[in-house]
Symmetry: none
Subunit: 456 residues, 2 copies
Amino acid sequence: MTTTDTPDLSAHIERGLADLRDLVAMQSVSAQGRMLPETAAAVTTLLEAEGFTVARYPGQVAPVLVAEAGDGPFTLLIYNHYDVQPEDPLNLWDTPPFELTERDGRLYGRGASDDKGEFVSRLAGLRALRERHGGRLPLKVKWLLEGEEEVGSPSLEAFVKDHAAELKADGVWWEFGSVTPEGRPILYAGLKGIVCLELRCRVAASDLHSSTGAVVDNPLWRLAKAVASLRDEGGRVTIPGFHDDVRPPSEADLAAIARLPGHGEALYSAYEVTRPLGTPEDHHTRLNLMPVLNVNGFHGGYGDGGSKTVLPAEGFVKLDFRLVPDQHPDKIVELLRAHLDAQNLQDVEIVELESHQHPARSDLNDPFVQTAVGVAREVYGQDAILNPSSGGSGPMHPFMEYVGAPVIALGIGNVAGRVHAPNENVLRRDFETGVRYALEFMDALGGTDSRSQTEH
Amino acid sequence: MTTTDTPDLSAHIERGLADLRDLVAMQSVSAQGRMLPETAAAVTTLLEAEGFTVARYPGQVAPVLVAEAGDGPFTLLIYNHYDVQPEDPLNLWDTPPFELTERDGRLYGRGASDDKGEFVSRLAGLRALRERHGGRLPLKVKWLLEGEEEVGSPSLEAFVKDHAAELKADGVWWEFGSVTPEGRPILYAGLKGIVCLELRCRVAASDLHSSTGAVVDNPLWRLAKAVASLRDEGGRVTIPGFHDDVRPPSEADLAAIARLPGHGEALYSAYEVTRPLGTPEDHHTRLNLMPVLNVNGFHGGYGDGGSKTVLPAEGFVKLDFRLVPDQHPDKIVELLRAHLDAQNLQDVEIVELESHQHPARSDLNDPFVQTAVGVAREVYGQDAILNPSSGGSGPMHPFMEYVGAPVIALGIGNVAGRVHAPNENVLRRDFETGVRYALEFMDALGGTDSRSQTEH
């Protein structure tokens, strides 16, 4: 693997950006069931043009695609998704969310980074790889794309389990990753699990005049009491038993954490954060190795200008818990119920919103992980930042459990990428390097023997 | 005062209903600044026809009228308002809101009860009183009418303070009151005060991915902690010092409370309340004599279907505190600030939404109050329900503070009167009895000596 026979990447990059523009224009918002079959069809067309055979399976919300092409001693399974988060609040976007717009070196649009940009950059790299090898691929590439990732991948675990033989691979390339402002790639070898819940409380059939608050309980106070009881001032979850199953980090995990640069300064600066949690010293441990509770939304009663002296009949709160190995999602819900009951909040209902996701973490010493790190050093010209786990979540666990392969995440995101928020973006620089990384990573894997991968 | 020389009231009632029809047709919606000077002019014409001299003063939204007529040992100040609530949603009215329509014993129309019906029934009684006394009034009647009550009476406190001498009276007749379905009049001798606030919290310039909740604080958790800390499970406000200035109820207050019928069963049934606060025994004490905190609204972050794994940048809560004598609104805001600071919630901002209103409560033993109760028993043929205070709020305090007179509320409202809502109505029965009550109440006051009123 040298760069002497590297094709001119600029044409592949431009073609990739054109693909990205087309895909961003497709409003594939899974939470609202918008344009999902159409986007699956567009992705299929792109893959078939590169020689993939594409199988399309029904999902609960959107089709699941499994594509396969190439042949060689190594089988790589790539995982991406073609759905995106809702675009609201629309008024905070500087340019229309579904029009890819370049400005000051960044490409803005919903999905520009998460995850259409990731998919398209890898596809462009694969095109270059085919060009380098005279139209063929030196490895077997299996590509799994789903359209339900932003609603918690409700079909994926069962799908991976049921299609374990079809998906068998020597390594799994995860759907995202990111690059520092200085151009250092960040690799993740794990993901937190997640449980998304709604708490609901209702005290009457309709709203009442607020003077009756003297003799009728308030659903928003009851929900506030519930939320306040879930963590302490420092952010530590206070549900009894919540931390019992947390696996202590390995020595390799701790060593990797110790090598991680910075202490969140870039994040805090990009978002003008006024209330950091934790200390600089425990920043990476908190973000990557510790479980956390988030309040995603809280709504009930009057919300317009001025005042309205109303006692609302009901309210709701949206929560997510991010879990680490070996916490079990179902057990977390049981512990929450017991905790609310113990707080005399039996009337606060728990509604499970999505499929839960188990936490997952690969062995940092695995050769597949080490190959990803080595190629990253070569392509990006700097040592990669190897993170034992992202602070984010995703359905990584079924791959490790049923495909039986290590998983690594490397991608084109950036710290100011505003994924899930208005003005989502990717740096053009990172998109371009991402195309080159895809080319060289797959070429390197094509030169390895799968047997050496699986006998460590 | 006997009924032997009582004029035939039917003519006065019919004339009063004609006046009400004319006034309901005037769309004096203060929130939208509609027809306020015109309605003030129509009210002026009606009063001048009964011998009143009417002074018209500018208010912030609509003219303030002060009318005066008659002479005698007792001076009565009547307070009413000529503005109404907006009529929307129009589609829920069974007949046009600005056409007084009689159906099944009820008169429907915006303002039929609140407050044009109240004003007109009193005016009709005053006409009958003049007839009984050969064209003169046996007492001095001062009539204050504003056109800003439905937008929180922004001019009233300063107006009453500035015109204290002009408004001096021996008793104040409040703008509303109600009658039970069984025909028992309900008198109120006080109103709670009110402080409407917003709590705001912000932790970043824009929303973040919820995985960063491990290292960025959550504004909705902080607001939940604030709200949860404001009261206990039983609804008692837990802000230190909050109850310090609560005046213990008098023996007369407690005796009146003990005589109040029911324990909230009608309210709980009408609204299908699943979580009453307090016990049947303390129901009326809580509703009428104790301060209370209400959460009117709580909003922040994602609120649509399913989940969105976002860490919201900000959130807000709308609150009202209902106060009782001698709590001071400004002090309550100061105590809240100190309490939040003590909870390490210095970053939770307090925004004051409207003019505060002080609580007010008259002495139930005052002869003016006792006269109102005695006449009510005679006119309605049943013992009045005497309530030391409504659970609601209004600008009563300035009258007690600056006019220096006790205040009593008795009127023609009914529990199904839908004030502020579509199909506002008054029972014809209650309108007719209201005219007779106005006649006899004012005649009784005309037979009393103001000196005996002020030396108890």
